[in-house]
C-alpha cells in the first residue's frame, strides 16, 4: 500500500486530474469508453442545460452573500480563498470531466472548513501562549493598557451620557454641557451627530440612526458600559455610572523608541517578546500581554511541570482502563444477548430486540444525568436497593459505576452490530464444526468468534477511540470526582480530556488555550497510534481498503 501513497492528498483536492482516473480503469476501459461516448452525445439535453444554469445561479447567490462583508472588513486573504474555491467548484460542476470529484467535493469542503482547519489551528495554537492575558496582538495589548489606564485628572472634559445602539453595537452619545453639541463615541472614536433631540437634563431623546437604550435596560449592561471606552487623542472617554462620562488622560503610554510602556510617575515596563508581556525592573508584568510563539513549552509543561505531570500517568492509566473495559464489557454483553437470540427456536425476537435497544434510543445526555441521580447517596435508587453508600464518592465504586453506566448505554449498539455479523456467518461453517464433533463452545470459540471479530474490528477500534474521549460520561456523571482532599485539580475518574478541560480553565479560572491545545494534540497522538497499530495488526485493513 506504500506505493499508492504518492498520490497523497489529491482526493481532497477538487482536481484529481484527468490522468488520475486512469490507473484502475484499464480493466473496464472498454465500457468506460462507451459511456464517455454516450455522455458526449447527451450534452445538450434539457437536464444538462437546467443543471448548469442551476450551478451558475447558486454560485452567483453564494458570491453575492459572501463577498460584501469580506470587502467591507478588507479581509483580502479570505476574499481570495472564497473566490478561488467558488471558481473551482463552478468549473467542476460545469465541465463534464472529473466525475469522482463532483461526488467528493461537497463533503470535502465541509471537512476542510470545519474539521481540518480547526485541527490545524489547534496544532498552531499548541505552540503559542494564547489564553487569558494573551489574546491578541501586541498592538491590541498596548491599546488595552493605554485605555484601561485612563484616569480622571483635574480639568478633564465631562459629558452627559446616553447609552445607545447602532447595528447591535454599543454607542456612547455624549452631550457637551456647555455647547449642547452631540457626539457619538464608538470603539473607533468620536463622530459628530446632527439633529439629535436633547432633553433639559442633557439626555439624548432621539438621534437619527441610533436606538437609545432606556436607563433600566442600560443598568443591566453596566459591566459592558464600564468596560467600554472611546479612544481620543491622548486618552479616552469612559463612563462614570450611566449618565456621566469624562475624557481622561492615559496614565501609561507606549514608547516605540525603547519598545516599552512608561508612566509619568516613573514606571517603566519593557516588552518581553519571549513571554509576551511588558515587564518592569523587578520582573513584574502588566496584566495585558499578547500572543507569542512559545515553541514546545506547552508540551514540556505537560510532561515536566510537577503539579501536572504527577497525575498525568495515573490519569493515563485509568483512561486506558476505562476505554478498554468499555469496549470489552459492551462487546461481551452484546455478544451474549446476540447469541442467546440467534436461534430459530426463540420466539418473539423482534419484541426482545426492541426492549434491548431502548437504552440506545433514549437521549444519552439526559440518561447520564438520570444515572448520576440514581447513584445519589441519600435519595438515589441504587442506595435504596443496595444500601446507602457514597457510590460516586469512593474511587473504586465511582469507577465501577461509570463502567456500568457505559455498559448500559453502549451494549445495545454492540448487540445490533453483532446480530448482523452473526447472521452473515455461513451456517455451513458452524454445521461442519458440529459434525466434526466440536462442542458448542469450541464451535463458537474457533469458528464464530474469529469471523465476527474480523468483521467488527473497525467498529471496535472506533468504539475504543470514542470511549477514550468519552467526555460526556465523565463530565455529566462524576465531573472527574471524587477528589482527594489535598488536590482539587484531578479526580479519581478523570479522563485525559476532562482533566485537560479543567486544567485549561474552561470551567472557571484562567483559560490557557495554548496548553489545552497541546494536550489535545497529545490525546490525538495516543488515539491515532493505538488505532493505527490495531488496524495494522488486524487484517481488516485489507478488507476495508480493497
Amino acid at each position: 500500500m506504500t506505493t499508492e501513497v504518492t498520490g497523497a492528498g489529491s482526493a481532497s483536492s477538487p482536481h484529481p486530474g484527468p490522468s488520475g482516473q486512469a490507473p484502475d480503469q484499464r480493466s473496464r476501459g472498454g465500457r468506460r469508453g462507451d459511456a464517455e461516448q454516450v455522455r458526449r452525445t447527451r450534452e445538450l439535453s434539457t437536464g444538462f442545460i437546467v443543471s448548469r444554469i442551476a450551478v451558475l445561479g447558486i454560485v452567483a447567490a453564494l458570491l453575492i452573500y459572501a463577498l460584501p462583508p469580506l470587502i467591507q472588513t478588507e479581509a483580502w486573504t479570505a476574499l481570495v480563498v472564497v473566490g478561488v474555491v467558488t471558481a473551482l467548484v463552478a468549473y467542476l460542476y460545469l465541465t463534464p470531466r472529473h466525475i469522482p470529484a463532483k461526488y467528493l467535493v461537497p463533503g470535502t469542503i465541509f471537512l476542510i472548513a470545519f474539521a481540518i482547519v480547526p485541527i490545524v489551528l489547534t496544532f498552531v495554537t499548541a505552540f503559542t501562549n494564547f489564553g487569558d492575558g494573551h489574546r491578541g496582538t501586541k498592538e491590541e495589548a498596548i491599546r488595552a493598557i493605554e485605555t484601561s489606564s485612563v484616569t480622571q485628572v483635574p480639568g478633564s472634559p465631562e459629558y452627559y451620557l446616553t447609552i445607545a445602539e447602532r447595528d447591535g453595537e454599543m454607542v456612547f452619545l455624549l452631550v457637551d454641557p456647555a455647547t449642547k453639541a452631540v457626539q457619538a463615541g464608538t470603539a473607533a472614536g468620536l463622530t459628530p451627530v446632527d439633529g439629535a433631540e436633547v432633553s433639559l437634563t442633557g439626555k439624548v431623546l432621539t438621534a437619527a440612526g441610533y436606538t437609545v437604550i432606556p436607563t433600566a435596560q442600560a443598568a443591566e449592561r453596566d459591566a459592558e458600559i464600564a468596560a467600554f471606552s472611546v479612544p481620543t487623542p491622548g486618552g479616552a472617554v469612559k463612563a462614570t455610572g450611566l449618565s456621566r462620562a469624562f475624557e481622561g488622560k492615559a496614565d501609561k503610554s507606549y514608547d516605540a523608541a525603547c519598545d516599552c510602556v512608561t508612566s509619568p510617575s516613573g514606571g517603566r515596563w519593557v516588552a518581553d517578546e519571549v513571554e509576551g508581556y511588558f515587564v518592569d525592573a523587578e520582573g513584574k508584568h502588566l496584566d495585558q500581554g499578547w500572543k507569542v510563539d512559545v515553541g514546545f513549552a506547552n508540551f514540556t509543561k505537560a510532561l515536566t511541570d510537577p503539579t501536572i505531570s504527577g497525575h498525568f500517568l495515573n490519569v493515563l492509566i485509568w483512561n486506558f482502563v476505562f476505554a478498554l473495559s468499555a469496549v470489552a464489557t459492551t462487546f461481551a454483553l452484546g455478544m451474549i444477548v446476540a447469541l442467546a437470540l440467534h436461534s430459530p427456536r426463540v420466539r418473539g425476537t423482534k419484541f426482545y430486540r426492541i426492549l434491548l435497544i431502548l437504552p440506545y434510543a433514549m437521549p444519552g445526555f439526559a440518561m447520564l444525568l438520570i444515572w448520576r441521580d440514581m447513584f445519589n447517596t441519600d435519595f438515589g435508587l441504587i442506595s435504596k436497593l443496595f444500601g446507602v453508600h457514597d457510590w460516586l464518592g469512593t474511587p473504586t465504586t465511582a469507577r465501577l459505576g461509570l463502567i456500568v453506566i457505559n455498559l448500559w448505554m453502549g451494549f445495545p449498539y454492540m448487540f445490533l452490530v453483532i446480530t448482523g455479523a452473526l447472521q452473515a456467518v455461513p451456517r455451513e461453517l458452524t454445521d461442519a464444526a458440529r459434525i466434526d464433533g466440536a462442542s458448542a463452545w469450541a464451535g463458537f470459540r474457533r469458528v464464530t468468534l474469529p469471523l465476527v471479530l474480523v468483521a467488527l474490528t473497525p467498529l471496535l477500534i472506533s468504539s475504543f477511540g470514542f470511549n477514550f474521549n468519552n467526555f460526556n460520561n465523565i463530565k455529566l456523571v462524576t465531573n472527574g470526582g471524587p477528589y482527594a482532599i489535598d488536590n482539587s485539580t484531578v479526580g479519581a475518574t478523570d479522563l485525559l480530556i476532562s482533566y485537560t478541560y479543567r486544567v485549561a480553565g474552561f470551567d472557571s479560572g484562567v483559560a490557557d488555550f495554548g496548553f489545552a491545545a497541546a494536550i489535545s494534540v497529545f490525546i490525538f497522538a495516543i488515539v491515532a497510534t493505538v488505532s493505527t497499530v490495531a488496524f495494522w495488526r488486524s487484517r481488516a485493513q485489507e478488507e476495508v481498503y480493497s
Binding site: M1, E4, V5, A8, G9, S10, A11, P16, R31, A35, V38, R39, S51, Y65, A66, P69, Y103, P106, G107, L111, A113, F114, P118, I119, T125, I336, A340, V346, Y352, I354, L355, L356, L358, A361, M362, P363, F365, A366, M367, L369, I370, M374, F379, L381, W408, L416, T419, G420, Q423, A424, P458, S462, N472, L476, I497, F513, A517, S520, A528, V544
Partner: protein, 282 residues
C-alpha cells in the same frame, strides 16, 4: 425438558436478565415523570401516584421547552439529511470509481475523524467568533452555524459504513444502466440510492440521535435561552434546582425520547441489516 432448558431455556433466561438491566433506568424515568411530588427523593421504581403535573409544569413553566424541542429536531433533521446526502455521494465515488488518491482519501477520512471535533473546540470558537462578525446568520446563537459545523463531520464513519454496503451491491447493475444510456447522475439517484435504502435509513437515524445528544459544542454555541437545544437547555434545568426539578427533567427526557424511539421503531426492520452489512463485507 432438560434438553429444552439446555438448548432454549438459557436463552430466555439471559434475555430476560439483560432486558431487566436495560429497562430499569427507563422505568425509573417513567416513574419520576408521573410522580406528582416531582422530587428525586420521592421517586422509586414504582411510582406512588400518577399525574401529569410534571408535564404540565414543563410545558407551561419558565423554560421554553417547546422551543428547545423544535430547535433540536430541526437541527437534527436537516443535519441528518444533508449529512447523509454528502456522505452517500462520497461513498458512491469511493466504491464505484477508481481515481488517484482514493486509498489516501479513505485513510485520511479515517484519521481525521479520530480527532474529535470537541478537541478542537478552542479553534472552533476562534473561527466562529470571526464568522459571527462577518455573517451573523451563521454565527453563535444561530442554528445554521451549528448545522454547518456538524456537517464537517459528515465524511467519517458513515462514509465507511455506506461504502462497505455499496460494495455489496453488484457493479453489474449500475454498469448495465450506464450501457442503457444513463448518466452517472441518473445512475446515482435512480439506481444506487433506492438500492441502499436500509443503510441510508440507519445512518440517518444514527446521525439524528448523535445530533440530538450533542452537548459540548452546542453548549459553547448557544447561549441565548431561546436558541438552545434540548441537551443544553435541559442540562441547565437540572443544574438550577437539582432535586426539585427532577420530575420535570424526567418528563422532558421522555418527551425527548419520542422522536428517537419512534424513528427506531419505524426503521427497526432495516437496522440490523443496514448497520452490519457494510461491516461484514468490510
Amino acid at each position: 425438558m432438560i434438553k429444552w432448558l439446555r438448548d432454549v431455556g438459557w436463552r430466555y433466561a439471559v434475555v430476560l436478565v439483560v432486558c431487566a438491566f436495560a429497562l430499569f433506568p427507563v422505568v425509573f424515568v417513567v416513574s419520576a415523570a408521573i410522580n406528582p411530588l416531582g422530587t428525586l427523593g420521592s421517586t422509586g421504581l414504582i411510582p406512588e401516584g400518577a399525574s401529569l403535573k410534571n408535564f404540565v409544569d414543563l410545558l407551561t413553566g419558565d423554560h421554553p421547552f417547546t422551543k428547545w424541542f423544535l430547535n433540536s429536531v430541526i437541527i437534527a433533521l436537516i443535519s441528518a439529511f444533508a449529512g447523509l446526502l454528502i456522505s452517500v455521494a462520497a461513498a458512491y465515488a469511493f466504491s464505484r470509481m477508481r481515481f488517484r488518491g482514493r486509498r489516501v482519501g479513505l485513510l485520511s477520512i479515517l484519521l481525521i475523524q479520530m480527532f474529535p471535533q470537541f478537541l478542537a473546540i478552542v479553534a472552533i470558537f476562534i473561527v466562529f467568533t470571526e464568522v459571527t462578525e462577518l455573517y451573523p446568520a451563521f454565527g453563535f446563537n444561530k442554528p445554521w452555524g451549528l448545522l454547518v459545523l456538524y456537517l464537517g463531520g459528515a465524511l467519517g464513519v458513515n462514509t465507511y459504513l455506506m461504502k462497505g454496503y455499496l460494495d455489496t451491491v453488484p457493479k453489474e447493475i449500475d454498469e448495465s444502466a450506464t450501457m442503457d444510456g444513463a448518466s452517472h447522475v441518473q445512475t446515482f439517484f435512480r439506481i444506487i440510492l433506492p438500492l441502499v435504502g436500509p443503510v441510508l435509513a440507519v445512518t440517518a437515524m444514527l446521525s439524528f440521535i448523535g445530533t440530538i445528544n450533542e452537548f459540548l459544542i452546542a453548549n459553547v454555541f448557544l447561549r441565548d435561552t431561546e436558541a438552545k437545544t434540548l441537551a443544553v437547555g435541559m442540562y441547565g434545568m437540572l443544574t438550577d434546582k437539582r432535586d426539585a426539578n427532577f420530575g420535570m427533567f424526567a418528563a422532558a427526557t421522555l418527551l425527548t425520547a419520542i422522536p428517537t424511539v419512534s424513528l427506531f421503531l419505524w426503521l427497526q426492520k432495516y437496522i440490523v441489516s443496514g448497520l452490519t452489512a457494510g461491516a461484514v463485507k468490510g
